[in-house]
């Protein structure tokens, strides 16, 4: 398995790149470290959306899992006193996974706009519950401030940064291997022609369910990582429909060409937002919205399409 992963060019380069990033993190100013960390965390959710998107499905409700992951971390710390990063992160994935598994039974039968709308509805149900329940923090949410790693309480964010980088590498490699497998090729196959997949003898619903579950877990992981990196969860920043919209936005901005693209796109997004907010505190939405339109019109393949050519060239050179 490990050798199979290493033999994959994308994974190999991603591991090298992320290792360099982790090393660079030691030297980076904290604000850059933070923004990269937020980008990586969000990138996990975008990776999940990419898996769905390759199947032709777009969820306008993945903030549901992002939020579940984030709130799992926050509630576990608040009411359970758990501070360990591994435990909190695990809980985020499990909670999102359980919900993804259950809702998957419903959503796997939906396509196109209906899939998008039902996802949206589910996420807004969670939003409605969170906003109105005082025990769940209502609109205030909670702080997440205690991060320990196996009993060690690190000073500063660097260890958490490394943890998130490691998570991203693992997630990215797993998704890459999955996409290269026959099961992963089904992703495109289902988008192309569901009828044929059924006639070949594979249950499209089951295949979509698996993908949905995977993307839910990734979004949950993203929410958990975000909660720990940011130190705060609240419904408007984690669960509202605008968050789902942002995730889809980053997916389009990144491009579906590679499993690396979501992370690049999400980091770019984080910096665009930071600078927009700094340069134009009263018009930052205008800059973000303008970027979105510009990408749709002038860069339909996303940021990845800019990198794809040199990448493909390198591939050819390597034989």
């Amino acid at each position: 398995m490990v050798s199979m992963a290493w033999n994959d060019k994308t994974i190999r380069w991603a591991i090298i790149g992320f290792a360099l990033l982790a090393a660079a993190g030691w030297l980076l100013p904290t604000w850059i470290l933070n923004n990269v960390m937020f980008g990586l965390a969000r990138g996990l959710a975008v990776l999940g959306l990419l898996v769905l998107w390759r199947t032709g499905l777009v969820s306008f409700g993945h903030a549901l899992y992002f939020g579940l992951g984030a709130y799992a971390v926050a509630l576990l710390e608040k009411y359970g006193g758990v501070t360990d990063v591994f435990l909190k992160f695990g809980a985020a994935i499990i909670v999102a996974g359980v919900f993804g598994f259950l809702l998957g039974f419903v959503l796997r039968n939906y396509r196109a706009i209906f899939f998008a709308m039902l996802s949206l509805a589910f996420s807004m149900v969670l939003y409605g519950v969170l906003v109105k329940m005082e025990v769940l923090g209502s609109t205030d949410g909670f702080s997440v401030t205690q991060n320990t790693i196996l009993g060690w309480k690190p000073d500063g964010k660097y260890p958490l940064f490394c943890f998130i980088v490691l998570t991203c590498v693992i997630a990215l490699s797993a998704v890459q291997l999955y996409l290269k497998s026959a099961l992963g090729h089904l992703t495109t196959a289902i988008r192309d022609n569901e009828l044929r997949v059924e006639y070949l003898g594979y249950s499209v619903a089951r295949a979509i369910h698996v993908k949905y579950l995977a993307s839910a877990c990734l979004a949950g992981a993203a929410g958990g990582a975000m909660a720990m990196a940011l130190g705060q969860v609240d419904p408007d920043s984690m669960v509202n429909w605008t968050v789902s919209g942002e995730l889809v936005f980053i997916t389009i901005m990144s491009g579906a060409g590679s499993v690396v693209a979501p992370f690049i796109g999400a980091i770019v997004f984080e910096f665009i937002r930071t600078y927009a907010f700094e340069l134009a505190p009263q018009a930052w939405q205008l800059i973000v919205g303008g970027t979105l339109l510009a990408i749709i019109f002038f860069l339909p393949g996303g940021i990845w399409s800019l990198l794809e050519k040199p990448w493909a060239k390198g591939e050819a050179d390597n034989g």
């Binding site: 906003v131 609109t139 949410g141 975000m226 609240d234 984690m238």
Partner: protein, 437 residues
């Protein structure tokens, strides 16, 4: 690239060395300018009635301090001699965004301090981050007592008294003025500020007038919901006469407009703890007879107070922004002033430009004459301010064509805040022992 990296490493090492050298007590290197982040709502529904007046109040006072034109005893120019370069940032967009932006202010833009914040939600969210980043942060407006009662803070101060006093004063005021009211209910926003405001009003009423009936259906709509038709119906059906609200910003304005047409204010006695902005923005549309608070000696309640600082503030503000200063204008101005006083005092004590620790030491427990009245950082180990809180009854002044208030009554801090070291909820539950009214 590699050479840049090298420079970066070099700089980090150098900075680390400098920091280590500075850890000793000596004064910091003198500065000509300091950068201070000032957060308030610049977009969204709270921008007009709260964020922008707050920002303006800060801007007015910062400019005056930079130029040295503030009246005595604050006429000395600058913050420990340095000019302040304010960086105004937007508070809207949710708590998580605010936390991210706070980090950017401190870590990217390298501010010397952060001032401001209106929403209790934002304050709760950024306080732990301020502690983590060890950055002096002075909260200006937000009210939830949880900021300091949940845990001890080192780097966070609040120059505004917390919400408990607003609620206790509201209860005391209505019990003083309106004896027989067949119970009370409330409409408050569903987050820290609204929940706390009503909770403490409720407990105080139960303690002070046990026979007054509490409604079993007080309303908690989402903040910035905008339409309250259904809620107004519910409140109308409730037999309670007193309606407590801590609505603020666009919400109080929308609520008043919608309730007004339905004759709500004829039937009910509304107590608004922080609706002052609506009194000005709605002008003669605002109903007479509403019990109105401004959370301190601010805005409407002190508009005609004959004190040099207050007169200067009201006149200069009016001249520059063509409007009366509102509560948030006072609250932001007060934070800026407190920061200046602390910087100056710390500079004097250290004999040079003060470090953050020295400024904080000077700020701790500070008492000062602010624009509306006296404020003391006497709670939470010198981090949380107290000051009198008052209420009055609104009345449109036909002759001057501007709003006015009558029957203004202020309650001294000793009457409405738990003594230092006690949690507000415990103190209230015990029946407010030792309250001096």
């Amino acid at each position: 690239m590699s050479s840049n990296l090298f420079k970066l490493v070099g700089r980090t090492v150098l900075a680390g060395g400098a920091l280590a050298a500075m850890v000793a007590t000596g004064p910091a290197i003198a500065k000509d300018t300091i950068n201070v982040g000032i957060a308030s709502f610049l977009t969204g529904p709270a921008a007009g009635p709260f964020g922008v007046p707050g920002r303006n109040g800060a801007e007015l006072v910062i400019d005056a301090i930079n130029a040295g034109t503030l009246p005595a005893p604050y006429a000395k120019a600058g913050f420990a001699g340095a000019k302040m370069n304010p960086i105004f940032v937007d508070e809207s967009g949710g708590n998580a965004k605010q936390v991210g932006e706070y980090r950017n202010l401190v870590e990217k833009r390298g501010v010397d301090a952060v001032l401001g914040y209106i929403s209790s939600g934002t304050c709760m969210a950024i306080t732990p981050v301020a502690e983590e980043l060890k950055k002096l942060t002075v909260l200006s407006v937000c009210g939830t007592p949880r900021v300091f009662e949940e845990s001890n803070r080192t780097y966070v101060f609040r120059t505004q008294a917390h919400a408990v006093g607003d609620s206790i004063a509201a209860a005391r005021y209505v019990l003083d003025k309106f004896k027989d009211q067949k119970g009370y209910t409330g409409i408050n926003q569903n987050y820290a500020w609204g929940q706390d405001s009503y909770k403490f009003f409720d407990i105080t009423m139960k303690k002070l007038a046990a026979d007054t009936k509490a409604s079993d259906n007080p309303q908690f709509p989402k903040i910035f919901a905008g339409q309250y038709g259904t809620e107004i119906s519910t409140l109308s059906l409730d037999p309670a006469k007193l309606v407590h609200t801590s609505f603020w910003g666009g919400d109080i304005e929308a609520f008043v407009l919608q309730a007004l047409v339905r004759g709500f204010f004829k039937d009910k006695q509304v107590i608004s703890s922080v609706g002052g902005s609506a009194v000005d923005s709605l002008g003669k549309k605002f109903p007479d007879g509403v019990v109105m608070g401004t959370r301190g000696e601010y805005g409407l309640l002190v508009r005609n107070k004959d004190e040099p600082l207050n007169k200067w503030f009201v006149n200069e503000y009016k001249k520059r922004y063509n409007a009366y200063p509102l509560g948030p204008s006072y609250q932001y101005a007060s934070s800026v002033l407190a920061y200046k006083i602390a910087m100056d005092a710390a500079a004097e004590k250290a004999g040079g430009f003060p470090t953050q620790d020295q400024t904080m030491a000077a700020l701790k427990g500070l008492s000062w004459q602010s624009f509306g009245g006296k404020v003391s950082l006497s709670l939470a180990d010198g981090h949380q301010a107290v000051h009198p809180v008052g209420y009055g009854i609104t009345k449109w002044d036909k002759d001057k064509k501007e709003p006015s208030v009558s029957d203004v009554k202020f309650y001294a801090p000793g009457c409405i805040y738990a003594p230092a070291g006690q949690k507000s909820a415990d103190w209230l539950a015990a029946g407010m022992p030792g309250a001096k009214c």
